[in-house]
Symmetry: C2
Subunit: 239 residues, 2 copies
DNA sequence: AGCCCGGTGTGATGCTTATCACACCGGGGT
DNA sequence: ACCCCGGTGTGATAAGCATCACACCGGGCT
C-alpha cells in the first residue's frame, strides 16, 4: 500500500519491524492492541507542520518514518532548532500529559509516517495501562535530558566555534561512525539551519566551516563531510 | 521535634499540611502509605549538596522545606543555574527514572527538609501504583517545560538586558504581586548568582542594575526591590 | 539557453559583553 | 577597634559576533 507521499505505510504496530527499538512497541500485546485501537495512522509531506508552539495540545504524534524539526521561535522571527526527531520518538508528549500548550513547533523535513493519538484517548490509555505510563515517564526523562544538554550547550559555551564542534562531534557519533578515527557524516541541513541549532548566524556558520576546512580539520565532497582531525575538534569543543 | 538544623520535621506525609499542593501528596491513602514506608525523612544545612551532575542516580529527593539551587557546570568552572527549586518539587526524578546520570547539581541554599527514596524502592513503587506513575509523568512534563523556557531565554535573547528583564518579571509574578502595578520582590541572590541564572558575567549584572535604577525602572532598599515601571521592563524583555 | 532562486562565500562596521584591574563598603569575628 | 572577606561599583580594553551588503554558484524550470 502506498500513501499519498510515496511512503509505504506500516499498517499495524503489532507487525511493525521496528518493534524492538521503539518506545511503545515492546509493550505487552494487550496494551499494544489497545494502542492500536486509538491511534490514527497518518502521513505527511515534507514541510508539513504537525503542531505549533503555543497551541493547546490535541494529542501525541508517534514518529514512525522520516525526520521532524523541533523548534522554538521568538516574536521577532528568530528560530532555534532544539533537535531533529527520528523514528521512534513521541512528539508533543509533555504538552499532552500536562495539558499545557505545546512548547515546541514540529515540522517535517522528510515525508513522514506518523501515528496520532487524541489527548483524551491517550490519557485514558495511560490510566488503564500502568506499564505504558512508565514508558512515558522514561520517554519524558529522555526529552528532559536532551533539553538539559541544549541548555548546557547554549549557556556554557564561550564561542560559536565551540558549539559547532560539539554539534559535529555529536553527529559523528551516529551510525557506528563513532569509533572510527575519521568519521564520515551526511550534512542534511543548510548553514542557516545549523546556525539555528547552535544559536548563531548563518554567516558565522559559513565562516566557521571555511576555517575548519582551511585548518584541515574537516573535508567535504557534496553533502558528505569527513572529519579528518577528531582530536582538534574535541579540543575546540572544550573537552 | 527539632532536626539538627533547627527545622521542625514533618514526620509523616499523611499529616503533611502541604498535601493539597504537593506532588505526591494527593494520592490515594494506600499509595501514600506505601510511599511512607520507603521514604527516609532527612534534613540538610544550608550549602549541602544533595547530588552532583554526572553521578549515577541513587534516588529521588522530595523537597518539603527550604530552597535548592539546581545548576550545571562546565569543565572550566563556569556555572549556570537552571532554577531554584521550591518545596513540593521532586529532585533527581528524571535521572532516577531513566537510570542515566543526574543531569544537574542540587545544592541547598536554605536549611532543608527532604524525603529521600532509594531508586529501587521508587521504581518498584511506581510499578505498583499506576496513579503515582502518572503523577511522575506530569512532574517530568513540568520539568521539561521549564527547561524549554530556559532554552528559549538563553537561545533567543539578543542581550543580557533582555534576559535580566525576563527574570525580574518572572520573579515579580510570584506571591500575588503579579497583578500589582508596582510589584515588590525580595532579592535573595547575589549578583553573581543572578549572572549565573541568565548566563552572563557578574559585572554585567551590576551594570544593568545600575542602569535600571538610573532610568527609574527599579528602586531598591536593602534586599527589597520595587519595580516602578513594569511597562518599560516588559519592553526590554521583548514582549 | 537563459532565468530564477535558494544556498553559499566574504568584506566592512559597530555593538555587546567578557575580562582584568582596582576601589569601596559593611558586617562578623577575634 | 581592627581586620578580613564576600559582595558590589566602575573604568579600560579587546574579542567575538550580528548585521548589512554584495558577489557567486548550481540546479530546476520554462
Amino acid at each position: 500500500m502506498l500513501s499519498p507521499y510515496g511512503l509505504e505505510i506500516v499498517e499495524s504496530c503489532l507487525t511493525c519491524k521496528l518493534r524492538e527499538e521503539l518506545i511503545f512497541c515492546d509493550l505487552p500485546n494487550s496494551a499494544l492492541q489497545a494502542f492500536e485501537n486509538i491511534k490514527y495512522a497518518t502521513a505527511y509531506p515534507k514541510g508539513a507542520v504537525l503542531f505549533v508552539e503555543g497551541q493547546s495540545p490535541r494529542g501525541i504524534f508517534v514518529l514512525c518514518k522520516g525526520r521532524v524539526k523541533m523548534s522554538i521561535c521568538s516574536t521577532d522571527g528568530k528560530t532555534l532548532i532544539l533537535k531533529i526527531a527520528e523514528p521512534g520518538e513521541v512528539l508533543g508528549l509533555s504538552a499532552t500529559v500536562s495539558g499545557k500548550p505545546y512548547e515546541l513547533t514540529a515540522e517535517t523535513i522528510d515525508p513522514c509516517q506518523v501515528n496520532f493519538v487524541k489527548r483524551e484517548d491517550f490519557l485514558r490509555f495511560l490510566k488503564e495501562h500502568g506499564d505504558a505510563c512508565f514508558r512515558v515517564a522514561e520517554q519524558l526523562s529522555e526529552k528532559y535530558n536532551n533539553a538539559c544538554h541544549e541548555v548546557r550547550s547554549l549557556g556554557l559555551s564561550h564561542s560559536a566555534a565551540e558549539k559547532l564542534a560539539k554539534l559535529l562531534l555529536e553527529w559523528s557519533g551516529r551510525n557506528g561512525e563513532a569509533a572510527k578515527l575519521e568519521p564520515r557524516l551526511k550534512l542534511a541541513l543548510t548553514h542557516e539551519e545549523i546556525a539555528q541549532m547552535i544559536g548563531t548566524s548563518r554567516e558565522t556558520v559559513t565562516r566557521l566551516f571555511a576555517e575548519l576546512k582551511k585548518r584541515q580539520i574537516i573535508q567535504s565532497k557534496g553533502s558528505t563531510l569527513l572529519i579528518r582531525n577528531k582530536a582538534a575538534l574535541k579540543l575546540m569543543a572544550g573537552a
